[in-house]
């Protein structure tokens, strides 16, 4: 594999690995989305 191809592949692989690693951590601390749901009497624009 030529150097640029190897470099680009390594870069993409690094991106994906980094993502997967950190997503796990953030999911652990982030609350579930759309927690409020069908029972809303008003749907505010500034809620998840």
């Amino acid at each position: 594999m030529s150097t640029p191809v190897a470099g680009f592949t390594a870069f993409i692989a690094g991106l994906i690995i980094a993502l997967l690693a950190v997503i796990g951590g953030v999911k652990a601390v982030a609350g579930g989305q759309n927690a409020a749901a069908k029972s809303d009497t008003v749907v505010s624009y500034d809620v998840k």
Partner: protein, 583 residues
């Protein structure tokens, strides 16, 4: 072909490839079958020339001409693919622009540094927060900023033949409406004004901006709807990190709506690391610009940040006064978008920064500069992982129920009479959209004037809308008047009650003399006055004049761009024979 030349071509292609692929990783499920509905992103699955798309539904048109662009594209490729194409294309445009600007900062930018620029341009809080809230037009503005900075500089330093290309680019930037045009003007204006005004190109750019703005600006100025001071305060930037509002803005976040803020921005560590890289990148970019001649290219970023901070501080009500009292000031109400040039500059500066870290013989290179450069290049991703895959699924394409689409088609084909929309609320949680918050789809699906609540419900209260008829209905409902009676008083002939939504649909009993046109799981459609004569739809003169201005400006701009493209294509075989194409 020699191995060396093939290798050079691969290196040159790497940022292109990443610029095409990374937006796919960002959007993920948003590119699936159906349409994405998220906050302001309400996209009809059936492209239709509705009053909303034409800017006839409210005194100050909102989605003009951006919705028209989506509809035009939708007629060609289908509504869902059109939306996907626009979202993806905007991010690709941002990536190409940032690399273009970074090559201005450093002409010999290595391919891997250009890849870092792509990452920083596509992967940042500005992109995330605007994607979640569905404002692709603000992202279009963000994406055109670097291209316009480069073009404006060319005009200033005499590299361009005239300013027709710049004028055309500004005009095309205006297809996103006020959001994108404001950012285009912010990018170009200071560059043409400083240190001494270049009057001729400046006049051309102003003419292009005014022309393309016609479709929304002319009706808005004629109607002059009141702008609420409550809105000015509600839309001021807000911290999305523990570092405070100003540093949140510098780091590319600070959008006013906390529902868009990603969880990881709440971490001092992650937000701090992201901020440090942004500040270093900005410093690097500023140094490169100082060497180049172009400190004036810093002006849009500085001015944008200053205005956003002014919106936060609002000294003596100055910002509120500008937004509510100056004609057209309302387009500045959501001031966080003005940091777009700063975000662009930081993304472009990342390239120069990592290139410096890996410079052979440099101080950083001796202490593991390569590894450090890689980490810095990946910081945007590491500190904002939730942007991946449709912002962790918050942006997911869904199929709009067939019965709701059929109801919209039925009403669009019915004699003109106006449609009252219930539940009386602008925003919905559709069960079939995963209960995500979005605008009601109906005004964008039905080719009739739709009377709907246009007030903005916030946790802190309601920001009043602009439609007096809607305000009267809202007051009547608050006083306990039956919804059908309140709507009928405003002259609507039809009522569409959306079901399987929050807030829940009111219990509507078809009154005597009315006719049920559809009664399905997702929609109840009533004709309150069957057999009544169709109402004549009136198109205000201001809208006709405005659209004519916009259309003529865009046609002229496309003509200029086509001519430039043809000339460039003719020159290409001679200039690039044997050379490697680069961004």
């Amino acid at each position: 072909m020699t191995t060396g030349r093939a290798s050079a071509r691969l290196r040159a292609a790497a940022p292109h490839l990443l610029g095409l692929l990374l937006p796919l990783l960002v959007l993920g499920p948003a590119l699936g079958r159906g349409v994405v509905l998220s906050y302001d992103l309400a996209w009809s699955p059936d492209p239709r020339w509705t009053p909303v798309a034409l800017g006839l539904s409210t005194p100050a048109p909102r989605a003009v001409p951006s919705d028209a662009v989506g509809i035009l594209l939708g007629h060609v490729v289908g509504a869902g693919p059109a939306q996907a194409l626009l979202l993806w294309g905007v991010l690709v445009l941002a990536a190409t622009g940032a690399v273009r600007l970074s090559r201005l900062l450093r002409a010999d930018l290595p391919w891997w540094a250009a890849c870092a620029v792509v990452v920083a341009a596509v992967w940042n809080p500005f992109v995330l927060e605007r994607l979640v809230v569905g404002q692709w037009t603000a992202l279009l503005g963000y994406a055109v900023v670097p291209h316009l900075l480069v073009l404006a500089r060319r005009v200033r330093v005499g590299e361009a033949r005239g300013s027709a290309g710049l004028m055309a680019a500004v005009a095309c930037s205006g297809v996103g409406g006020a959001n994108s045009l404001v950012l285009a003007v912010l990018a170009v204006g200071p560059v043409l004004l400083l240190p001494r005004p270049a009057w001729r190109p400046l006049a051309g750019v102003v003419a292009a901006a005014l022309g393309v703005a016609g479709a929304w600006a002319v009706p808005a100025l004629v109607a002059s709807p009141p702008s609420s001071a409550v809105g000015a305060a509600a839309f001021a930037p807000r911290p999305d990190t523990p570092l405070g509002t100003v540093l949140s803005l510098v780091a590319g976040g600070g959008f006013w709506n906390p529902a868009t803020h990603p969880a990881e921005r709440g971490s001092v560590l992650l937000a701090g690391v992201a901020l440090v890289v942004v500040v270093l990148s900005l410093g690097t970019a500023a140094r490169a610009l100082a060497r180049l001649d172009g400190l004036r290219l810093l002006a849009p970023a500085a001015l944008g940040l200053a205005l956003a901070v002014l919106a936060v501080l609002d000294p003596a009500g100055l910002w509120t006064g500008i937004v509510t009292s100056v004609p057209g000031g309302g387009v500045l109400r959501d001031a966080q978008k003005l940091v777009a040039p700063l975000v662009v500059l930081a993304a472009s500066g990342v390239g120069v920064l990592v290139a410096g870290l890996r410079r052979p013989g440099g101080a950083a290179a001796r202490v593991g500069g390569g590894a450090l450069a890689t980490v810095v290049a990946l910081v945007p991703v590491l500190t904002l992982p939730s942007l991946a895959w449709g912002v962790g699924g918050r942006l997911t394409a869904v199929e709009v129920p067939a019965d709701l689409r059929a109801a919209a088609t039925l009403l669009s084909a019915a004699p003109e009479g106006g449609v009252g929309l219930l539940p009386w609320s602008q925003y919905r949680r559709y069960a079939w959209n995963g209960n995500r918050v979005s605008l009601s789809l109906v005004p964008r699906m039905v080719d009739q004037r739709v009377l709907a609540d246009d007030a903005l419900p916030l946790r802190s209260g309601r920001v009043p809308g602009e439609d007096p008829a809607a305000a009267r209905v809202g007051r009547a409902l608050a006083a306990g008047v039956d919804p059908l009676v309140a709507l009928r008083r405003e002259g609507v002939r039809y009522v569409l009650v959306e079901r399987r939504v929050a807030p829940p649909a009111p219990d509507v009993v078809p009154p005597a003399g009315s006719r049920v046109l559809a009664d399905t799981a997702d929609a109840l459609v009533l004709d309150l006055t069957p057999g009544a004569a169709p109402v004549q739809r009136v198109t205000p003169v201001a809208s006709v004049v405005g659209w004519a201005l916009t259309a003529l400006t865009l046609l002229a701009a496309l003509g200029v761009l086509a001519r430039t493209g043809i000339r460039a294509a003719r020159r290409l075989p001679e200039e690039h024979r044997g050379s490697v194409t680069r961004w």
